[in-house]
């Protein structure tokens, strides 16, 4: 077996038994990155940095004083500030930005011994569902459509580089961020595991701000257990983020393998939306049967305000984005376009040149929704609807322990198929945005390939701060689904 096909758990065992070194493990991934450069997963590769970190890991393995993630090569979504390593958010406006500080989540992962292979591509400022808005070009999914092998599939977004890289074995795990589905949807489209924890579980400090009341960090890996292990180190209270929770972080790996007998699984009526492809419904039904076979009890629930979640999200998200992105003014960091006019001319030209079309669109929608005369009709209205959506979940959790839904309304689509229709693109998040609006944890687990060879998965939604039940039930689904497909099966790798 190639070193890049190992799980994180397997790699840690191999490193401890000295079957291979951390340098060898990292080099295997660096070679894979070179071989699959066409997927455009990485914006900035940091092979030298990873090998230096790996050499330090090898010293610790030699001395026996090892760390929990020692030598495990990770990719970092290029929205996490990394000290001394360029951080672009896939935007021209930060094309040459080199942070002088390290985000809390990445500093915790590296303190646990993980190495950094590079910075992963994403939708510009994490605004997108297909990784087609990046200034650094589209990310291409490693999966192929059987019926149209020449068609390039999207990896989903916004964490498209992270998802594609983990699926393509170009890193063992990756960080992501999830504002409306940006971890769970790309995980589903690329056949891997992705977790967005409860709002407040991970520090947002050092992550480029997008929509602050919705943004949450999370992790990708290829197994539920690996994801749980990474989440142990990504989570935790941080003085530097006032919304980060002081709650203790449990050892999430302990949940994996625990029985789900007697757990109540909520199936929301409102998620059976019109026009949902048969294969998505069928996969959902399979999930229900798997959970039943493991001893869980199925409960019908209602989340009556679901249909208002997307319009609510597309007020709150652009409003917060327009406010957060006001900082890009060409003065303190980033691009400046100064053609000799006054200060306002410089601001306007810098922002017109630095932001791509989707970012400009959201800033303008947000600016409008927050402007005098419209604030109550849009922004306050959305905040009220947001409360109703939260209350839907609170009521549902009186009857069930977690909720099972599809993660996305379709399998991966082709590059270019939806990018010209913003509302069509926004609909990709129909099953994921509710979770961000309510601040809940969500987990995507891969389950099958569809008849065309494209991955399908399931989403589990938990109670606030109950990631453990999701890992427990996610591992049960993983065991039943036994998803073993490899995007390069038949490849010489």
């Amino acid at each position: 077996m190639s070193l890049t096909d190992l799980t994180i758990k397997g790699a840690l065992e191999g490193l401890k038994k000295k079957e291979f070194t951390a340098v060898e493990l990292n080099q295997a991934h660096i070679d894979a990155m070179a071989k699959h450069k066409d997927l455009n997963c990485y914006i900035t590769e940091t092979a030298g940095h990873a090998l230096t970190q790996a050499a330090e890991s090898d010293k610790r393995y030699a001395s026996g004083n090892t760390l929990k993630l020692d030598g495990i090569p990770l990719g970092i979504k290029d929205i996490y500030c990394t000290k001394g390593i360029r951080t672009t958010v896939a935007s021209r406006i930060l094309e040459n930005f080199v942070p002088t500080y390290e985000s809390t989540v990445t500093s915790q992962l590296f303190a646990a011994g993980a190495t950094c292979l590079g910075k992963l591509n994403l939708d510009e400022f994490a605004m997108g569902c297909s990784n087609e808005t990046s200034y650094f070009g589209n990310v291409i999914s490693p999966w192929k459509s059987k019926s149209e092998p020449n068609k390039q599939l999207v990896p989903g977004g916004s964490s498209g580089g992270s998802a594609a890289a983990v699926a393509a074995r170009l890193c063992m795990g990756a960080t992501g961020t999830d504002t409306g589905g940006s971890i769970r949807q790309p995980a589903a489209l690329t056949g891997i595991v992705g977790m967005k924890p409860t709002y407040g579980r991970c520090s947002r400090w050092g992550i480029v701000a997008f929509a602050s009341s919705l943004d949450q960090a999370g992790m990708f890996a290829r197994t539920v257990e690996d994801t749980a292990l990474l989440m142990n180190h990504a989570c935790g209270h941080d003085e530097k983020d006032s919304t980060s929770s002081p709650r203790e972080v449990p050892d999430f790996t302990q949940s994996v393998g625990q029985s789900i007998k007697g757990l109540k699984v909520g199936i929301p009526d409102e998620y059976r939306i019109d026009g949902l492809p048969e294969e998505i419904t069928a996969e959902w039904d399979k999930g229900i049967e798997w959970l039943k076979s493991e001893g869980a009890e199925i409960v019908r629930i209602s989340l009556p305000h679901t249909k208002y979640a997307l319009p609510t999200y597309y007020i709150i998200n652009p409003a917060e984005a327009s406010s957060n992105l006001a900082r890009y003014d060409g003065v303190r960091y980033g691009l400046r376009v100064d053609e000799g006019g006054n200060l306002n001319d410089m601001y306007e030209k810098t922002r017109a040149a630095g932001f791509g079309p989707e970012v400009r669109r959201r800033i303008m929608v947000g600016t409008y929704a927050l402007s005098a005369g419209y604030y109550d009709a849009y922004y306050v209205k959305a905040q009220k609807t947001r409360r109703l959506i939260l209350q839907d979940f609170e009521k549902a959790y009186e009857k069930c322990d977690f909720i099972l839904t599809p993660p996305a309304p379709s399998a991966a689509f082709g590059i270019g198929e939806q990018i010209d229709d913003p509302i069509q693109m926004y609909l990709n998040d129909v099953f994921t945005v509710t979770v961000n609006l309510a601040g809940l944890p969500g987990l995507t687990v891969p389950t099958s390939l569809n008849s065309d060879g494209r991955p399908l998965g399931l989403q589990l939604i938990g109670r606030s701060f109950d990631e453990e039940t999701l890992f427990r039930a996610g591992a049960a689904i993983e065991k039943c689904a036994n998803f073993k497909a490899h995007p390069f099966k038949g490849d010489a790798a």
């Binding site: 002088t100 919304t243 208002y308 319009p311 980033g334 100064d338 306002n344 913003p422």
Partner: protein, 96 residues
């Protein structure tokens, strides 16, 4: 339903400090109208007695002593500035 005119589009762009040409403003109007029209389905929902929800983090913001906890990082602060001079950010002339 909101119809955003070309003039309204220019006003929004101005508020957002994003330069737009006349041709761009022509396209922005219908684009924003389309999205806002879709968003306006919220109007059908009665929210009369609902408190707005600003943030789901159920955390009491902690107080701390008002004291300096870091500093002395002028070089770090200026490291990514497009233009700086003698420890300051440089901007186009603001005061005539």
């Amino acid at each position: 339903m909101s119809k955003i005119s070309k003039e309204e589009a220019k006003r929004i762009a101005k508020l957002a400090r994003i330069a737009v040409t006349d041709e761009e403003a022509e396209k922005i109007g219908p684009d924003l109208s389309n999205i806002l029209g879709w968003i306006e389905q919220l109007a059908e929902l009665n929210t009369d007695n609902v408190e707005p929800l600003a943030n789901v983090a159920n955390i009491d913001l902690k107080k701390r002593k008002d004291e300096v906890t870091d500093g002395d990082m002028q070089q770090d602060v200026l490291a990514n500035a497009p233009e700086s001079m003698e420890g300051f950010f440089v901007v186009p002339k603001v005061v005539e």
